[in-house]
């Protein structure tokens, strides 16, 4: 399967980006998890000719240097999706955009750099109603929305939405990425 942009994650950030890009003439494929809540942008995206793969997850990608060539998903099996650009908008812990073990917080698909506190006891504020450090952790990007991997900005993998560190505005980050792609 081939397209211009693969958007990984069908939440608000993913759909905002997908709709913007599809309307600008890019052929987009959204690999969305199961939840699929934002009906209006999703319907608009499909009506604009976008491909929406519901209940699917990207498992891994193939790189050439810092350029992502193609990705494989759980449902499509051995057949990868090739694209020019990729947007990672998989959300936070609840939607498994970020994952954690006892010692580490990481991004499970590509291993993007995650900013977090190495001391586990600093992840949570014991006052439930106070600010929670773990809500600030997230994937690092350079000034143009490129995801950082081992300190190097990926050429064509962007990150947008809740997955980012420091609680950036979801829709704004998605639109900024679109501007960089177009």
């Amino acid at each position: 399967m081939r397209c211009d942009v693969v958007i990984i994650g069908g939440g608000l950030a993913g759909l905002t980006a997908a709709l913007e890009l599809q309307r600008a003439g890019r052929r987009c494929v959204v690999v969305a998890g199961g939840m699929s809540l934002h009906e209006t942008p999703r319907a608009a995206f499909i009506a604009a000719g976008g491909v929406f793969l519901r209940g699917d997850f990207v498992k891994r990608g193939e790189w050439k240097g810092s350029r992502l060539l193609r990705v494989w998903t759980r449902n499509l099996g051995s057949e990868p999706i090739e694209a020019k650009d990729f947007i990672l908008a998989t959300g936070r812990f609840f939607s498994k955009g970020l994952a954690s073990t006892m010692d580490e917080i990481y991004e499970p698909i590509f291993g993007c750099d995650v900013r977090y506190d190495k001391d586990r006891s600093a992840w949570v504020n014991t006052d439930f109603f106070g600010p929670q450090p773990f809500e600030e952790f997230g994937v690092e990007t350079d000034g143009c929305g490129h995801a950082m991997i081992h300190g190097v900005a990926a050429e064509n993998l962007y990150a947008a939405g809740e997955i980012l560190c420091d609680r950036k505005d979801i829709e704004q980050s998605a639109l900024a990425v679109c501007r960089n792609i177009i």
Binding site: R92, F93, F94, K96, S100, T101, M102, R120, S121, W123, V124, T126, D127, F128, F129, Q132, F134, E135
Partner: protein, 516 residues
């Protein structure tokens, strides 16, 4: 103002056990508790009904007491006890000689211990570490301390006792070298109440030192903190013990639909007792040892961590703790300090609470010159009169029967069938019953009596709905938000130390729902 025969200070298992015993003997009984029942060590232990094997080597008298009480509780508290059986397991690297020592000690104490082949042990308990080199089968069991305490309180009331929660003792009344009662302050209103009683029993657990201080008698307790972990489901169906000299984290107990792993041991000060937290280091230690016993724990979700404080008594009032005892300790202050009408009950284990209550009640009767026999071992606790598990009916009816035994037949399932806590299948009917009969004023107490919020979501799903229902049942619908805020903080305390993996995902979800 009413006059009582006996005033019991402390609503843990000891206090309610004494209240039941005294009330059954016809004494005019009142129990006062500063917070909710089981707020202390009773609500924060393993839930293990010891066979006594764990103490057989170092403390054979305690062990002998344990096995006798174990048999009694299986009979009178059948609804609170699950006869899981237990294993003492020798792992590679453990002292292999200890098993033999343990066997001899068990037999001397009257504990039916049987050495079995490791292969047989693994067949009996598939979660056990496959590299176990030896195993001893013992009559350990799992016991629910909340149900046990609730049943004792219900029975005490049925026999005429008065139980006052949220009443703190601020002063003991003293007349002519005798303690004659206490002044209490109601926690919310600040209202002062005076209670007069011929005998006062200090059963306040680790706070007993403070109470003794009010009576001007020395009592040195060495509070020992123990931390435990709760896993998301029933990993092992038998209790698993490490067959070695008792150390940290050697016990894994099935508790209803979860598994409880514990425990650590560290000194804390009396002041710290009201605000103890589980540390990262304790969590790591518990997991390390626990995974040795049952390796599957490495892939099992940890729901929460909690800590309790053991009120260890230093026999010679030696603050260095060299002569620390875990056995039942009953001090007649008339004999030790010349103070009449005052008894302290401390030390002891959950397993032997009834025996301690019997001994205290005997002493109370002796002081009152009343001859009444203890009947607590003969009569089943309310709910445990007979085996009660409905053959048909939906899941929540069965779950309520599991929790409350025969008392669940009092619940109005027909008109209040809505399931409010999904993880534990608790209906509005069960909540209404708890409010009416079991002293429930908030979600924390509701949780202790019914398991609401003890499931894998730790209240994420149900808190809002349950709070609304509870507030309505209490006749204060405007209170729902406050109840949620209070409860979510309490749940958060237990989640924070184990906040990684699935539990971190749950925490994120909980924050989204309730952070406001």
């Amino acid at each position: 103002m009413k006059e009582y025969d006996v005033l019991i200070i402390g609503g843990g298992i000891t206090g309610v056990g004494i209240a039941r015993d005294c009330a059954m003997r016809g004494l005019r009984t009142i129990l006062v508790e500063r917070q909710d029942l089981t707020n202390g060590a009773t609500g924060r232990n393993h839930g293990l009904l010891h066979s006594g094997a764990r103490y057989a080597v170092a403390d054979p008298d305690s062990a002998a007491e344990c096995i006798k009480e174990n048999r009694i509780l299986r009979r009178i508290a059948a609804n609170c006890v699950e006869p899981t059986g237990g294993l003492f397991v020798t792992l590679p690297g453990d002292d292999v000689g200890y098993a033999g020592t343990l066997m001899k000690a068990c037999h001397r104490a009257g504990i039916d211990a049987k050495e079995i082949d490791p292969a047989e042990a693994i067949r009996l308990e598939p979660a056990l570490n496959k590299s176990a080199v030896g195993a001893i089968k013992v009559p350990d069991a799992s016991i629910d301390p909340f149900r046990l305490a609730t049943a004792n309180a219900v029975d005490a009331r049925l026999h005429g006792a008065t139980i006052l929660t949220y009443h703190e003792v601020v002063q003991l009344l003293r007349e002519n070298g005798s303690i004659v009662g206490a002044r209490l302050r109601q926690l919310d209103s600040g209202e002062m109440v005076t209670v007069r009683a011929a005998v006062t029993v200090n059963a306040a657990g680790v706070w007993g030192q403070k109470i003794a201080g009010m009576a001007d008698v020395p009592l040195t307790l060495l509070p020992s903190k123990g931390s435990l972990l709760i896993f998301g489901h029933r990993v092992a169906k038998m209790t698993l013990n490490r067959c070695r000299k008792p150390a940290s984290a050697d016990i894994l107990v099935p508790g209803d639909v979860v598994s409880v792993l514990g425990t650590t041991s560290s000194k804390v000060s009396i002041e710290e007792c009201d605000n103890i937290r589980v540390t990262s280091a304790e969590v790591d230690e518990l997991l390390q040892e626990g995974c040795a016993l049952a390796p599957i724990l490495a892939q099992t979700r940890v729901l929460r961590a909690y800590a309790g404080v053991r009120p260890l008594y230093s026999a010679s009032n030696d603050p260095t703790g060299r002569s620390v005892s875990r056995g039942i300790t009953i001090i007649d202050h008339e004999l030790s300090d010349g103070l009449h009408g005052f008894i302290t009950a401390t030390g002891g284990k959950l397993t032997t609470y009834r025996l301690m209550a019997e001994q205290v009640s005997d002493m109370v009767c002796q002081k009152l010159k009343i001859r009444r026999r203890c009947r607590t071992a003969d009569k089943p606790l309310p709910g445990s009169e007979k085996d009660f598990f409905p053959a048909e009916g939906n899941l929540s009816r069965k779950a309520a029967a599991m929790r409350h035994g025969t008392r669940s037949s009092q619940m109005d399932f027909d008109s209040k069938s809505e399931v409010l806590c999904g993880c534990e299948h608790v209906t509005r009917a069960e909540i209404a019953y708890a409010v009416k009969n079991l002293d429930v004023h908030n979600l924390v107490e509701l949780r202790r009596r019914t398991r609401v919020g003890m499931g894998t979501c730790q209240g994420s799903f149900c808190m809002g709905k349950v709070a609304t229902a509870l507030a309505e049942e209490l006749g204060r619908p405007e209170d729902a938000d406050r109840l949620v805020a209070q409860y979510v903080q309490e749940r958060w305390k237990g989640i924070a130390p184990v906040c990684w993996g699935e539990s971190l995902r749950e925490a994120e979800y909980m924050r989204k729902l309730y952070r406001k």
